[in-house]
Amino acid sequence: MDFYLTALIQGLCFAGIALGIYISMKIFNIPDITTDGSYTLGGVVTSVLLTHQQPLYIVLPAVMLAGAVAGAFTGFIHTKLKINALLSGILVMTALYSINLTLMGRSNIPLIGTASLFDVLHISSSPNNNTFIILAAFVVLLAAIISYLLKTDFGLAMRATGNSETMIRALGVNTNRMKIIGLALANALTATSGYLMTQFQGFADINMGIGIVIIGLGSVIIGETIINWFGITSAWISLALVIGGAIVFQMVLAVTLSIGVDANLLKLVTAIFVLLIVSLPRLAIKNRVL
């Protein structure tokens, strides 16, 4: 049972990436690969600040700011220097590897005896249950804030930027600025995932972000499939489904491991699983037409 609880907790840790990718990919229509770097950056900033005995309450703002700066760089390169979005993300991600390594000073920082978000409250005697409760509350709060943001006038302008750029420019929105803000927000959320995961697993590692973007993509696609099936338009339910996608994703991986698949094959399984979810709705539609 603890095995699945761990998967559930990991899924919730990845909610930030899922929301971040949802914003960059679904709302802004920009494939953002900065994710791999900004997730690690979130973990690195968390571990460095915590091992330097910085108070817990400054860690999250610092993590989000670091992620936002990374995202803003990608946005700047993409909009002002007119570089393809994919390449902009890859450039920043590559640069972040060195930055992360420099910040850490070595490739791995264990968190032993440091403060942790998951030790702030002791609601349950079981540490995993306790972590789960705090994490769930954190994620609900995060989703509530993003869902509110999407309903504001600013949020509408954000959504229109990815949807109909000519229209929203004619309605007085600087779309370049909007995209930079959007990518900053997306990567702040991604860094938040790094923050959560580092505290949960008790260490930050320079390689923790490799291939992590696929988790965000997979979560969004799982959520999106359900959103399309039921024709959901509510922003709040869409965000909940995307976070649900992150949890389903981790559950599938947990099941895969539990039935004895070699852990070395996990990334392969991940890729095949994402391919399946992407292709299944299309195959289903094809059959219906025929």
């Binding site: 509110y148 309903k151 504001t152 600013f154 509408l156 109909s164 000519t166 309605l171 007085g172």
Partner: protein, 249 residues
């Protein structure tokens, strides 16, 4: 209201595919004028409209709107005065956003987009009444995504959206080109009504010579980036539709 002086725009300068889209145009449009521009493809009509809107910048010359020099002002800043309807119904609205979301954005065209929720029951009621005036039965579908509507409905709503916030200039770039004759007629009549009702300064580009004849207070023909005919209201009333057809033969 709009002054263009010595406006030129060349695309692909210095290359083999160089196009002199607009060649030193001088144009003075007073407040309340409804200018119709006709001209064959490639005559520079759309370029001229984009220059006024600020989507592209002129190579030489200056543009004044409402006594402000806007020559170097980007499109999203000129939106303070200008509302636009595009040839492609998809361009004027956001398809994945609901009708009410689209109207909310249009209602704050000249204002900052802040971090508060602007759609409340009062706003919805106001939009419902505005849409009801179109007699298209859309007032009950405020939460429906814009993309589910037909091209004609979207163009009509785009027109309505352009006057929900203070608007001085309306730019219509072949708004009916993608529509069937009935929808096209409905959109043109809606546009004409709104222009009169709100006293807008309007510029319409069209290939439909009947529309060019029936609507507007001034008629301009462009060719190779220059104005070759420029009729004021009286002159426009005196010509027959056949004269217009002859311009193109």
């Amino acid at each position: 209201m709009i002054q263009l002086s010595q406006i030129s725009k060349t695309f692909n300068k210095g290359r083999s595919n160089q196009v002199n889209a607009v060649n030193g145009i001088n144009l003075n449009i007073s407040a309340g004028e409804f200018v119709v521009i006709v001209g064959s493809n490639g005559s520079g009509k759309s370029t001229l409209l984009n220059l006024i809107a600020g989507s592209i910048y002129a190579d030489t010359g200056s543009i004044n709107i409402d006594d402000n020099d806007v020559t170097k002002l980007p499109d999203y800043k000129r939106s303070k005065w200008i509302a636009r309807v595009f040839q492609n119904p998809l361009s004027g609205t956001a398809p994945d956003l609901s009708i009410i979301d689209n109207f909310r954005l249009a209602a704050i065209r000249t204002k900052p987009k802040g971090l508060s929720i602007g759609i409340d029951e009062k706003f919805k009621q106001k939009v419902r009444e505005q849409i009801a005036a179109l007699n298209m039965g859309l007032e009950t579908k405020l939460d429906q995504p814009m993309g589910t509507l037909s091209g004609g409905q979207r163009q009509a709503l785009t027109l309505l959206m352009s006057v929900t916030d203070t608007c001085k200039i309306l730019l219509l770039d072949e708004p009916t080109a993608a529509l069937d004759p009935r929808s096209a007629d409905m959109v043109m009549r809606t546009a004409d009504n709104l222009i009169k009702q709100f006293g807008l300064t309007a510029i319409l580009i069209t290939h439909n010579l009947k529309d060019a004849y029936n609507y507007g207070t001034r008629l301009i023909q462009m060719s190779e980036g220059a104005v070759i005919h420029n009729l004021n209201t009286d002159e426009k009333l005196q010509i027959t539709q056949n004269v217009l057809f002859e311009w193109f033969s």
